[in-house]
Symmetry: C2
Subunit: 278 residues, 2 copies
C-alpha cells in the first residue's frame, strides 16, 4: 500500500486506527473453544466487526509463534481475511545481518503478503536495508517504545548531546523516506512526541500504548498529527477483549467506533476541512 | 542445559564449536530436491556428521520462517533431531514488551524446547526478563554484532564515556548472571574483545563471524577465552555448505573437525591441563 493510498483511506474513514490482533487463546470468549480453529474464527469476527472503522491491522507474531507451526498457519490465514484496503503490519520486531534479513523479508513480504514489518534498529543499516528492496513494502522502525524500560538504552544521552532514539530517527532517514519507513513511538511518550515530530516531520508514526498501557489519544493526536495525519494509533486489548461473552464482536465494534469517532474530531480539528478534501 | 554441563561438554569434546543451521533450500545439494522434505533430511545428515565435534547447534529462525508454517514445522523437527547433550539455540533476535515476550518465551522454551534464544536489547529490561522466568533456559543478548553497520548505533559513545554496547553489557548484568545469560559478540570485533571480556569476565560469549564473514578463530580464542572457556564459536555456511555434491556430509564433517582440532589446541594452550581436568 502506498503512502497516498493510506492517507486517502484515513480521510475516507475519518480514522487512523490500527487494530492489533494480539490474540491469546486464554483470553478469547470460552465458547470459541468448541470450534476447530478458535483463534482464526475469533480473528475473522473481529475483522468483520471493525474493518470499516480502521485503516490497518497489526498482527503480533509472538502470539502465533507460541502455538508453533499451527500458529504460523493461523497467522497466514488471518492475513488473508484482511481486506486489501487495509495496511497489514507484521509486528515482528526482527533485526539481523543482511543475508538473514533477506530471509525475514521473504517470510513477511513474499511467503506472506504483509505490507509492513516492524524492525529493531540495534544492528544498524544492514538490518533494515534488505527489507527496503521490496517495492511497495514498509519498514516500521522502533524509535521510542511504550514500555518502562525504554529508559534503559533508548533515552541514553550520547556524547553528541542527542539521545539514542533521536539518533535512530536521524540516521535511519538516510535509508528510506516517508513512503517506505514509519516509526514506532509509544503513546506513553507524549513528552517526547513534539521533539520526535520535529525530527521526522513527514513520516507516519505507529503509536501503540493507548488503552491498557495508559496513553492518551487526545494528547497523541494533538502533538503528533502532521498535515497528512501521519499517525496510526494501535489499539489491541481494549478492542479485541472488550467482552469475553457472546457479545464480544458487538462490544469490540463499539469500542473501535468510540475511538474512530474521537479520531474524526481530531482530524477535523487539526487537519481542518481543507485537509479532509486534500 | 546448565553452565556446568556446558563446560563439561566442552572439556569432553575439546570443542567450543556451535554449528549454525542456516539452511537455505537454494544452497543445499541438488539431489535433496527429490526428497519429500529436503531441508529436514539435509539437517539430519549435517547433525549426524558433526554431533561429536560440536557442543551446540544454532537454528537461525529466519531461514525457516521464509518457508511459512511448513518451515516452522521443519524447525521443530530439526530441533528434535539434536541430541540432548547439545545446547540448542534459537537465533531469533526477538525483543518486545513484557506480555509479548512471554509469548515468545512460550514459543521457544515451551512449544519448542530450545535451551537458549538470542534477544535484541533496544527495548531494555522488560524485553529480556520474561525469558529469564524459565528455569534452566538462557538469554543470549546482542552486545556487539559482526556486521559492518554495528557502527551505526552500537559504537555510539554516550555522555558517560561508555559506548552503547558497553552500556548494554553492564546494565544487563543486573538482570542475570553467567548461568542464564550469554552475549553475542561478532568475531570481526576482535579489537573490542579484550574490553568486552573485561566487562563480562565470566559470561559465555556466542561468537559468529568466523569463516564467511572473515573473523579469526585464533584471535577470538586468544583474547576471548576465560577460565571456563567462555566461548561458543558459531560456524554456519563454511560447514554446512562445504560441498554441494554427494560428499557434502563428509566435507561438512571434515570442516567441523578442522575447527575442532584447532579448538583443542587453544583449549590446551589457554586453559592448560589443569583446566581440562577441572
Amino acid at each position: 500500500m502506498t503512502y497516498e493510498t493510506l492517507y486517502q483511506e484515513i480521510l475516507t474513514k475519518k480514522s487512523y486506527l490500527c487494530v492489533g490482533l494480539d490474540t491469546d487463546s486464554q483470553l478469547i470468549p470460552p465458547h470459541f473453544q468448541r470450534l476447530n480453529n478458535p483463534i482464526l474464527a475469533f480473528n475473522q469476527m473481529i475483522i468483520e466487526a471493525t474493518a470499516d472503522l480502521c485503516v490497518a491491522y497489526k498482527i503480533n507474531t509472538a502470539f502465533y509463534e507460541s502455538m508453533g507451526a499451527k500458529g504460523w498457519e493461523i497467522m497466514e490465514k488471518t492475513l488473508n481475511l484482511i481486506p486489501e484496503t487495509h495496511l497489514t503490519i507484521a509486528d515482528a520486531k526482527r533485526g539481523d545481518i543482511g543475508n538473514t534479513v533477506t530471509q525475514y523479508a521473504k517470510a513477511f513480504f513474499e511467503q506472506m503478503q504483509f505490507d509492513a514489518v516492524t524492525v529493531a534498529p540495534y544492528m544498524g543499516a544492514d538490518s533494515v536495508k534488505p527489507f527496503l528492496q521490496f517495492a511497495g513494502k514498509w519498514v516500521i522502525l522502533l524509535a521510542l517504545t511504550s514500555n518502562a524500560s525504554s529508559q534503559d538504552f533508548q533515552f541514553e544521552t550520547l556524547a553528541s548531546g542527542e539521545r539514542l532514539f533521536e539518533k535512530v530517527l536521524q540516521t535511519s532517514q538516510n535509508w528510506a523516506d516517508k513512503t517506505q519507513m514509519m516509526y514506532v513511538v509509544g503513546a506513553t511518550q507524549t513528552e517526547e512526541l513534539a521533539k520526535i515530530r520535529g525530527l521526522a516531520p513527514e513520516h507516519f508514526l505507529l503509536v501503540p500504548g493507548i488503552g491498557a498501557q495508559g496513553g492518551s489519544l487526545a494528547e497523541v493526536s494533538q502533538i503528533g498529527m502532521n498535515k497528512h495525519c501521519g499517525l496510526l494509533v494501535n489499539v489491541s486489548r481494549s478492542i479485541i477483549y472488550a467482552s469475553a461473552e457472546l457479545d464480544f464482536a458487538e462490544k469490540a465494534r463499539q469500542e473501535a467506533q468510540n475511538i474512530q469517532q474521537e479520531m474524526a474530531v481530531y482530524l477535523d480539528k487539526y487537519l481542518g476541512i481543507a485537509g479532509l478534501k486534500d
